[in-house]
């Protein structure tokens, strides 16, 4: 199934124009008192949701914008307009 994504600058485009940037994991944890194990978990562990997931994408072949969007991982379809990071 062909994935299309909606870039906040360029509009709806073929998914092959984009690079996946990983799950949205929330703000970077406070470094004060952060253990190496917790930092490693933040960087490397993913939830891998079977369903709607918020994630980062980069419009590599287009405008170069980073943005977040919601994708249903079970059908590989975008389900909401992206939250523009302009």
């Amino acid at each position: 199934m062909a994935l299309t994504l909606t870039c906040p600058i360029c509009g709806q485009r073929n998914g092959y124009e984009f690079r996946y940037g990983g799950e949205e994991k929330g703000p970077r944890p406070d470094e004060e008192g952060l253990s190496p194990e917790d930092w490693c978990d933040y960087v490397h562990l993913n939830k891998c949701v079977a369903g709607i997931q918020k994630e980062w994408w980069f419009h590599r072949d287009g405008c170069g914008a980073w943005f977040t969007t919601q994708r249903d991982t079970t059908v590989n379809l975008e389900v909401e307009q992206p939250e523009a990071q302009l």
């Binding site: 360029c10 124009e17 170069g64 914008a65 302009l86």
Partner: protein
């Protein structure tokens, strides 16, 4: 510039130049033999281009021309086309006039020799581009000039629609220099059925004048 340093366009057409000139160590083809009536593919690679990156683009005026507020918008004044690419980046293309030195400001990078720069002008231009890309250069929601960024013949490009009218249509496109040979071959192949021919820079300036620029 040292007169012994030659700057070479990444584009070469299989046509005999009829008129050339040397400009800033580039050998510029002004006219090819048997250019006919177009549509034309024109190599503008010797024209100066700057990349501008800064978090406060609104405070920067390349050559005295303001950078548009929104990505996708363009400003064309004094022969300088300024294209807003995203939140922090704009492209500056000098289409006419002398070759300026880039300002000393750290935001500027001269990308003239790292990119290829082409114009596709004349009748049926959009019939040709339709064979090469899904980008909509005739988007009714936008008035020319406007910028689209995306694959053109599978190559990531910046493309500006300068004119939409059927008889005088025209786009400008730029991408990394290494794609030049294959991109030009793909465009000429797609345009063959429409009579697309290479042309020199005189044809481009005549086209700009007809548009009133």
């Amino acid at each position: 510039m040292n007169p012994e340093i030659w700057r070479r366009s990444p584009v070469s057409f299989d046509r005999r130049p009829a008129q050339t000139e040397t400009r800033d160590n580039w050998m510029v083809v002004l006219k090819y033999e048997d250019e006919s009536e177009g549509p034309y593919l024109i190599d503008l690679s010797p024209r100066t281009r700057w990349d501008v990156q800064d978090s406060h683009l609104a405070e920067i005026r390349p050559g005295g021309v303001p950078i548009p507020d929104k990505p996708g918008q363009c400003t064309f004044q004094k022969g300088i086309l300024v294209n807003r690419m995203n939140r922090t980046q704009a492209a500056v293309w000098h289409l006419t006039g002398e070759t300026p030195e880039p300002p000393a400001h750290a935001a500027y990078t001269d990308v003239t020799e790292s990119t290829v720069f082409l114009a596709l002008v004349g009748r049926r231009v959009f019939a040709i581009t339709e064979k090469l890309t899904s980008l909509d250069f005739l988007d009714p929601a936008r008035s020319a000039p406007f910028l689209l960024q995306g694959p053109f013949s599978h190559v990531p490009c910046q493309v500006v629609t300068l004119e939409k009218s059927p008889d005088r249509a025209g786009i400008l496109l730029t991408c990394s220099r290494g794609y030049a040979r294959d991109l030009v071959a793909a465009i000429l192949d797609a345009g063959e059925e429409f009579g697309l021919r290479p042309a020199g820079q005189i044809a481009f300036h005549n086209w700009l004048e007809e548009l009133g620029y």
